[in-house]
C-alpha cells in the first residue's frame, strides 16, 4: 500500500472542452510521440503492421452517440487520460510505492524502476486510464508532461503538456485547478465544468466542460416576421426593388 500526500501545493490538471473537441485524435498521437521519446520506457506497439495492432497510449479519444429525448442524435468526442485524482485509488493500491502523487503539483506518476508490472493500479482506476506496456511490462500513464512543464530546455511558451500545445481546436487547457483565480478554474466556473464519475469518490483534478445545448434553433412559421415577403411575385419584386434602390 502506498499513501497519498495529505494535500498538494498545486493541483495541476487539464480542462477538456467537450463542446469543441472534434475528435481529430491530434492529442492522442502527439502524446504518443512525445512519450515514446521521453519519460521512461517508450510506448510500444505490438503487431503494428499485422492482424491485431495494439499499442500503449496514455490518452485516447472515444466517441459516443447520444440520443436526447427530443430531437436528433448527437455524437460526443470524449478524450480520456489520467485525471490525476486527489484520492487516487491507483496510488493507494500500489504494493511497491511505484505509483505516487507528487506533493508539489499533484501529478500522479509511476516510478518505473519500482514498478513490478502487477497491474493492480489499472484494476483500481475506475477510468481505465492506465495501460501496461507489453514490451517493458511496466505501467504507463499520463505524466501531464512533467518533463515538459518545468523543462528549462524548452521555451517558456512550450512548457505545457503536448496534448494542449497541439490541439487544433483549442479544446484542451492546462493549469492549476487548486487556484480559484487561475484561467482554468475560471473556465470551469464559467462553463459549468464537471468531474468525471464523481460518485467514485476519487476527486479527479481534470475537469470536463459539457457541450452546449444543440439543435436549439427554433423552426419558424411561414409568416415569421423576419422573412415577410416584400411582395409576392417577380413583377411586384421589381417594384419593391425600385423603391429600395431609391434609399441607397
Amino acid at each position: 500500500m502506498t499513501t497519498l500526500p495529505e494535500q498538494t501545493d498545486k493541483k495541476l490538471g487539464l480542462v477538456i472542452d467537450l463542446d469543441t473537441c472534434v475528435g481529430c485524435h491530434a492529442c492522442v498521437i502527439s502524446c504518443k510521440g512525445w512519450n515514446t521519446e521521453n519519460y521512461g520506457a517508450p510506448l510500444s506497439d505490438q503487431d503494428p503492421y499485422g492482424a491485431n495492432p495494439s499499442g500503449t497510449f496514455l490518452n485516447r479519444v472515444h466517441s459516443y452517440e447520444v440520443q436526447p429525448d427530443q430531437g436528433t442524435a448527437q455524437l460526443i468526442h470524449f478524450p480520456k487520460s489520467c485525471l490525476h485524482c486527489e484520492d487516487a485509488p491507483c496510488v493507494t493500491v500500489c504494493p511497491t510505492g511505484a505509483s505516487y502523487k507528487r506533493v508539489e503539483d499533484g501529478i500522479v506518476l509511476v516510478n518505473e524502476s519500482d514498478c513490478i508490472g502487477c497491474g493492480l493500479c489499472a484494476w483500481a482506476c475506475p477510468y481505465g486510464a492506465r495501460e501496461m506496456d507489453q514490451e517493458e511490462k511496466v505501467m504507463k500513464k499520463c505524466t501531464l508532461c512533467v518533463d515538459r512543464i518545468y523543462n528549462e530546455n524548452l521555451p517558456e511558451i512550450d512548457r505545457e503538456p503536448v496534448c494542449v500545445r497541439t490541439c487544433p481546436a483549442g479544446a484542451r487547457h492546462f493549469g492549476d485547478l487548486g487556484d480559484p483565480n487561475s484561467a482554468v478554474s475560471q473556465l470551469v466556473k464559467d462553463r459549468g465544468g464537471v468531474d468525471l464519475m464523481p460518485e467514485q469518490g476519487t476527486k479527479p483534478v481534470n475537469k470536463y466542460l459539457p457541450p452546449r445545448p444543440k439543435d436549439a434553433l427554433p423552426e419558424i412559421d411561414v409568416l415569421a416576421p423576419y422573412l415577410d415577403p416584400v411582395i409576392g411575385e417577380p413583377k411586384g419584386f421589381l417594384g419593391w426593388l425600385d423603391k429600395a434602390l431609391e434609399k441607397i
Binding site: C24, P48, Y49, S63, Q67, T72, T166, D215
Partner: protein
C-alpha cells in the same frame, strides 16, 4: 513522503529543423526534433502562418510515415506479370534509360502517346512545366476526380473558392455555416477557426448527411439528403430575396447583377452581356440613366433599369435572378421532401443567416478606395460566413451546387467583407485572368501553352480539327466543357478503350489508380493487365513514382522511388496553391532535414534528370548539358517570367533582398531555412478586405508579382461562358455539340445556378445513398500503413442509420450484401443514429489489397476492410441508344462519387469482405512484429 527525484529538464533534442508537413494537403509548418541525426519528435511550428503551432494526428504521426516499412528502397523493373508485384531492383541509370527508350520515340513522333497524370502532387506548376516541355497535351493532377467542382465553381463565380483559395474571417464571423461530407483541405485552420469562434460564443450550423467531426460540434445539424444541397441553398435564396433581405448596394457595386443581358431570343447573342467596344460589361448609371462601362469612375450601376437598343431589350442580370429564384419551384414547401429538411427549418435557417448578416452588421473604422475611385470611410461587416467540404461537389450537379452556395454568400454581401469569406492571395483572380487550355502539339517540341485552364466558350474547347477530343481524358469537350482540372478518373479506361485514341506510356505520380483512387477498381485492374491480340499489354508501358509500396506499384512496369517528405526539397509556390492566409501572402519549402538511407530520389529531381536526358527545353542548357542538377536547383534558379520564380521570398533586387519580384538569389533556400521554412508578407491595412475592388490591394498584388497590372472585376452571378455553350447547343455558332448532348447542355449549363436531379439511369431498385469520407486522422494522407494511425482507424464498417438497421434486421457486427447497378460487396455493418435516415457510409481507403503497404496479409484492412469503389463505375449504365455516359458532372467532368445508390440485404458472414483479390507480392517485405521507437539514449 519519499518521492523519487526525476529529471524535470531533460534535453529535448540535439537540433530542431523546420520544414513543411506533407501528411496531407494542409501544409503546416513543423519542427522536426533530431537526436543523433535521427528524427525523434515532430511538433507544429508556432510561427507558421497555417497552423501557428498546432498539429493534427497525421502531422504528429509523421515519424511513423518517415520510418514506414513500406518505403520503396530502389528503382524497380517489373519481372513478373503486371499485377503480380514481382520486381527486380535496378540502378537509376538503368531506370532512366528504360524511361527514355519509351519516351523519346513518343516525343519525336506523337507526343500525345504519353499520358502524364499526377495525383496528390504539390508541385503542379513544376510537373505541368515538364509535361509542357515534353509536348504532350495529356497532363493533369487529381483535381478532376477529387473536387474540381469546388475550385472551378468558385473561380468562375467570384475568382476563388474555399480551401486554398480563401477562408472565413474567423476573427469577426458570428455565424459559420459548413456544408458537405469529408474532412477538409484546410485541416488545421478549420479546427482552429471553429475553436476560436466557439470560444467567443459564435455559432456553427453543419449541413451534412453524417454527424461526425465538425458536424458533431455544430450547434445545429442539418442531416440533408445527399445531392440536394443546391436545392436547399436555392430555397434559402428564394426566401431571402422574397423578403428583400439581400445586400442591394453590394450587388449593384461589386457584382454583375446590374450588367445588361441581351433578351432577344432570336439574337445570336441572346443571353450574353451587353459590352462596349472595349469588351467591358455595360450597366445603366442611376445618376445619368445612361449606359456606362461597369468600371467608369463615379458610375452607380442600376439593378433595375432596362435598356432598349437596335430593337433589342436588355435587362440586368438581377431581373433574371428574380424571375428564376422567386419562382415557387424553390419555395421551401416545394423542396422539403427532396432535401429531407422541413420547410419551417429551411425558413428558420434562411432567417437566421439573414438576421446575422444584416441585424448584426458592424463597421470597421478603415477607409478604403474602390476601383471606381470612390473612397469609403468604413468597411461594412456582415458576420455570417460559409465553407464547404468535398461532399457537395462530388455529385453530377456539384458545379451548380457550389455556384449556388457562392450566390447565397454574394446576395448577402458577405464575400470579402469583415466577418464573411475572404480570399487568400494570389486569389482573388477571375477565370478570365487564368490561362485557357492548350493542345497545340508539335513532335519534338513543347506544347504551345499550359494544359489546363478556364474556357470562355466553345472556341476554347480542346478538340482536334475533326472535332474529336484532343486529350486522352476528354477534358474540355462537349461531354464536360469546363473541366479545368482534367479527368484523371477517365484516363485508364479511355486509354484501354483506345477512345479517343491509344496511348503508349502512362506515367503517374502519387496516384493509387489500381485501388482507392479509381472508380470500378476491379475493372481498372483488368484494364491495366489486359493484353491485345498480339499478347502485348493494351496500355503498353506504365511508369509510376511513389514513396511507398502502394497497390499501384504492382501494376507498373518501372518504378521511380520517391523520398519521404522529410528527405526532400519542395516548394509550396505562389505559382501553384500556396499557403497564404487572408491577410498575407506566403509560401514555403521542404528540405531534406534528414538524408535518405535508401537508393531513392525526390520525384521532381528525377524529372530534372529525365528531362535533361530527353533534351527537353527548359531542362537543358544551350550546350545540351543538364540545366537543373535537382529540384532545389530548379526552385532557386527557374524564372517563370523575368523576376518571378517558384519562391517569392528573398529575391535579389538592386538594393539587396526583396519580396515578390526580383532576380535569382543563390542562397534563397538557406534564407527560407533560416526563417523556419516559410516566407510571409502581410497585406497592408486598408487592403485586407474588398480585395477584388480595393485599389490598395490591387496595387500591392501587382508589386508582389501576383499579376502584372491591377485587374478589378465583378463577381459573376451569371457565368456568361455557360450561356455560350447553351447558345451552341441551341444551334448558334460554328462549333456545334454532337446531337446526343444538345439537350443536356441546354438543361445543365444554366448561367445562373440551378439544381437538377442527377442522372438516375439504371438506379431502379437502388434507393439508398452511399457515401464515404476519410477520417480526420487520415484525410488526404497515406494513413493505413502508419503504425500509430492504423490503431485509430484500422476498421471500416458500413454505418447504417437506425431505420435501415431495423428494416433489415441487422445488429452491429452483422454482414450485409451491398449492391449497386454496377457491382456488389459484402461487408460488416454498424448502427449510427446521427445519420440521414436513407444514407449509409464508411471510412474511405481503409481497405487495402493483401500484400500492399508492407502490411501482413491478415491485417484487418485486407480482410475486413473494403472499398465502395467497387460499386461505382466510371460510366453510367447504358441508355436506350446503348450509349454510356460518364459518371461525372456534365459541366466539369468531376467524378460523381457521391451519386452512388445502393440496395442492402442481410447475409451470412463470409470469412472476409468481398470481393476478395489474391495477394500481391510485396516489393519491400513486411513490417516488424513490435515497435518501440525511441531514438535517444
Amino acid at each position: 513522503m519519499n518521492q523519487p527525484k526525476i529529471d524535470l529538464s531533460p534535453k529535448v533534442s540535439d537540433e530542431i529543423r523546420k520544414t513543411t508537413c506533407y501528411m496531407c494537403a494542409c501544409r503546416c509548418g513543423i519542427n522536426v526534433h533530431l537526436k543523433d541525426g535521427q528524427v525523434a519528435y515532430i511538433e507544429g511550428n508556432r510561427d507558421h502562418p497555417v497552423n501557428k503551432g498546432v498539429l493534427c494526428a497525421k502531422g504528429s504521426a509523421g515519424i511513423m510515415q518517415h520510418n514506414a516499412p513500406s518505403r520503396l528502397k530502389a528503382p524497380l523493373k517489373r519481372v513478373g506479370p503486371r499485377g503480380s508485384g514481382e520486381f527486380e531492383e535496378i540502378s537509376w541509370d538503368e531506370a532512366y534509360q528504360i524511361a527514355a527508350d519509351w519516351l523519346e520515340p513518343i516525343r519525336n513522333e506523337n507526343p500525345e502517346k504519353l499520358a502524364f497524370f499526377t495525383g496528390r502532387d504539390q508541385s503542379q506548376s513544376f510537373t505541368s512545366f515538364w509535361a509542357q516541355a515534353f509536348g504532350t497535351p495529356n497532363y493533369a493532377a487529381h483535381g478532376g476526380f477529387c473536387s474540381v467542382n469546388m475550385a472551378a465553381a468558385g473561380i468562375y463565380t467570384m475568382g476563388g473558392a474555399f480551401w486554398e483559395f480563401g477562408q472565413p474571417d474567423w476573427d469577426h464571423t458570428k455565424l459559420f455555416m459548413l456544408f458537405g461530407v469529408a474532412e477538409d483541405h484546410d485541416s488545421n485552420p478549420i479546427k482552429m477557426g471553429i475553436g476560436k469562434i466557439k470560444g467567443r460564443g459564435a455559432r456553427v450550423i453543419g449541413v451534412n448527411p453524417i454527424r461526425t467531426g465538425y458536424n458533431a460540434v455544430a450547434d445545429d445539424w442539418v442531416g440533408i439528403t445527399p445531392g440536394t444541397d443546391g436545392l436547399f441553398i436555392l430555397s434559402m435564396i428564394h426566401c431571402l430575396m422574397k423578403a428583400g433581405k439581400i445586400d442591394l448596394n453590394y450587388l449593384a457595386q461589386y457584382t454583375d447583377a446590374p450588367v445588361l443581358l441581351n433578351c432577344d431570343e432570336k439574337s445570336t447573342e441572346y443571353g450574353l452581356y451587353l459590352r462596349d467596344e472595349n469588351g467591358k460589361q455595360l450597366v445603366i448609371d442611376r445618376t445619368t440613366g445612361k449606359l456606362a462601362a461597369f468600371d467608369k469612375p463615379g458610375v452607380r450601376p442600376d439593378l433595375s433599369a432596362t435598356h432598349r437598343a437596335k430593337g433589342i431589350t436588355h435587362v440586368p442580370v438581377f431581373h433574371n435572378m428574380a424571375k428564376l429564384y422567386l419562382s415557387d419551384a424553390y419555395a421551401p414547401e416545394a423542396v422539403t421532401e427532396r432535401c429531407g429538411i422541413s420547410a419551417k427549418r429551411i425558413r428558420a435557417i434562411a432567417a437566421e443567416i439573414g438576421r446575422v448578416a444584416f441585424e448584426e452588421a458592424f463597421e470597421l473604422d478603415q477607409e478604403w478606395t474602390d476601383f471606381r475611385g470612390e473612397t469609403h470611410k468604413t468597411m461594412t461587416g456582415r458576420p455570417v460566413s460559409f465553407h464547404a467540404m468535398r461532399g457537395i461537389s462530388a455529385h453530377a450537379n456539384g458545379f451548380q451546387t457550389c455556384r449556388a452556395l457562392h450566390t447565397l454568400q454574394i446576395i448577402l454581401g458577405t464575400v470579402e467583407v469583415p466577418g464573411g469569406f475572404r480570399f487568400k492571395p494570389p486569389y482573388p483572380k477571375p477565370a478570365t485572368a487564368h490561362p485557357k487550355p492548350h493542345i497545340g502539339m508539335t513532335p519534338g517540341a513543347p506544347l504551345n501553352g499550359p494544359h489546363l485552364g478556364f474556357v470562355q466558350g466553345p472556341d476554347d474547347l480542346a478538340l482536334k480539327d475533326d472535332g474529336t477530343p484532343a486529350r486522352i481524358d476528354k477534358a474540355f469537350t462537349w461531354e464536360n466543357p469546363m473541366s479545368s482540372h482534367g479527368l484523371m478518373h477517365m484516363v485508364i479506361s479511355n486509354a484501354h478503350a483506345g477512345d479517343p485514341y491509344k496511348i503508349d506510356t502512362l506515367f503517374m505520380y502519387m496516384a493509387n489508380m489500381s485501388w482507392n483512387s479509381s472508380m470500378n477498381t476491379g475493372g481498372v485492374m483488368e484494364m491495366l493487365t489486359d493484353k491485345d491480340e498480339n499478347g502485348e499489354y493494351v496500355i503498353p508501358h506504365i511508369i509510376y513514382s511513389d514513396a511507398y509500396a502502394s497497390e499501384m506499384v504492382a501494376y507498373s512496369d518501372l518504378i521511380l522511388p520517391d523520398t519521404t517528405y522529410l528527405e526532400r526539397h519542395d516548394c509550396i509556390s505562389l505559382l501553384d496553391r500556396p499557403i497564404c492566409e487572408a491577410d498575407a501572402a506566403a509560401d514555403a519549402i521542404r528540405w531534406p532535414v534528414v538524408e535518405p538511407d535508401r537508393n531513392v530520389k525526390g520525384f521532381q529531381s528525377a524529372l530534372c534528370d529525365l528531362g535533361a536526358k530527353l533534351g527537353l527545353p527548359g531542362f537543358v542548357n544551350d550546350d545540351g548539358s543538364q540545366k537543373y542538377a535537382d529540384y532545389a536547383d530548379y526552385i532557386t534558379n527557374h524564372e517563370r517570367r523575368p523576376g518571378i520564380g517558384p519562391l517569392a521570398g528573398w529575391r535579389l533586387g538592386e538594393k539587396g533582398l526583396q519580396s515578390g519580384r526580383g532576380g535569382v538569389n543563390a542562397s534563397q533556400i538557406d534564407n527560407y531555412i533560416d526563417n523556419g521554412g516559410f516566407f510571409v508578407k502581410h497585406i497592408p491595412d486598408g487592403a485586407q478586405y474588398y480585395k477584388p475592388w480595393n485599389m490598395k490591394y490591387q496595387e500591392w498584388a501587382v508589386g508582389m508579382g501576383l499579376f502584372d497590372s491591377p485587374q478589378p472585376y465583378l463577381f459573376s452571378l451569371y457565368v456568361e461562358p455557360m450561356r455560350k455553350f447553351q447558345l451552341a447547343a441551341e444551334g448558334h455558332g460554328e462549333r456545334q455539340p454532337p446531337e446526343h448532348l444538345r439537350q443536356r447542355i441546354k438543361d445543365t449549363m444554366s448561367p445562373l445556378p440551378i439544381w437538377y436531379e442527377t442522372d438516375q439511369q439504371g438506379n431502379e431498385g437502388f434507393t439508398i445513398n452511399a457515401l464515404t469520407q476519410r477520417p480526420m486522422a487520415m484525410y488526404h494522407s497515406w494513413g493505413s500503413q502508419n503504425a500509430w494511425l492504423r490503431q485509430l482507424h484500422g476498421h471500416n464498417p458500413l454505418y447504417l442509420p437506425t431505420k435501415l438497421m431495423r428494416r433489415n434486421d441487422l445488429t452491429d457486427g452483422d454482414w450485409a450484401r451491398v449492391s449497386s447497378p454496377h457491382g456488389e460487396i459484402t461487408v460488416p455493418v454498424m448502427e449510427m443514429a446521427a445519420l440521414n435516415e436513407n444514407t449509409v457510409w464508411t471510412w474511405n481507403a481503409i481497405g487495402k489489397r493483401k500484400g500492399a503497404w508492407a502490411l501482413d496479409r491478415d491485417a484487418p484492412e485486407a480482410t475486413k476492410g473494403f472499398l465502395l469503389n467497387h460499386l461505382i463505375h466510371e460510366l453510367l449504365p447504358p441508355k436506350a441508344d446503348g450509349m454510356r455516359w460518364a459518371n461525372s458532372d456534365p459541366i466539369t467532368g468531376q467524378a460523381a462519387w457521391f451519386d452512388l445508390k445502393v440496395r442492402i440485404e442481410k447475409t451470412v458472414a463470409p470469412k472476409e469482405s468481398r470481393p476478395e483479390y489474391p495477394p500481391i507480392k510485396s516489393p519491400v517485405g513486411q513490417g516488424p512484429d513490435t515497435l518501440a521507437w525511441k531514438v535517444g539514449k
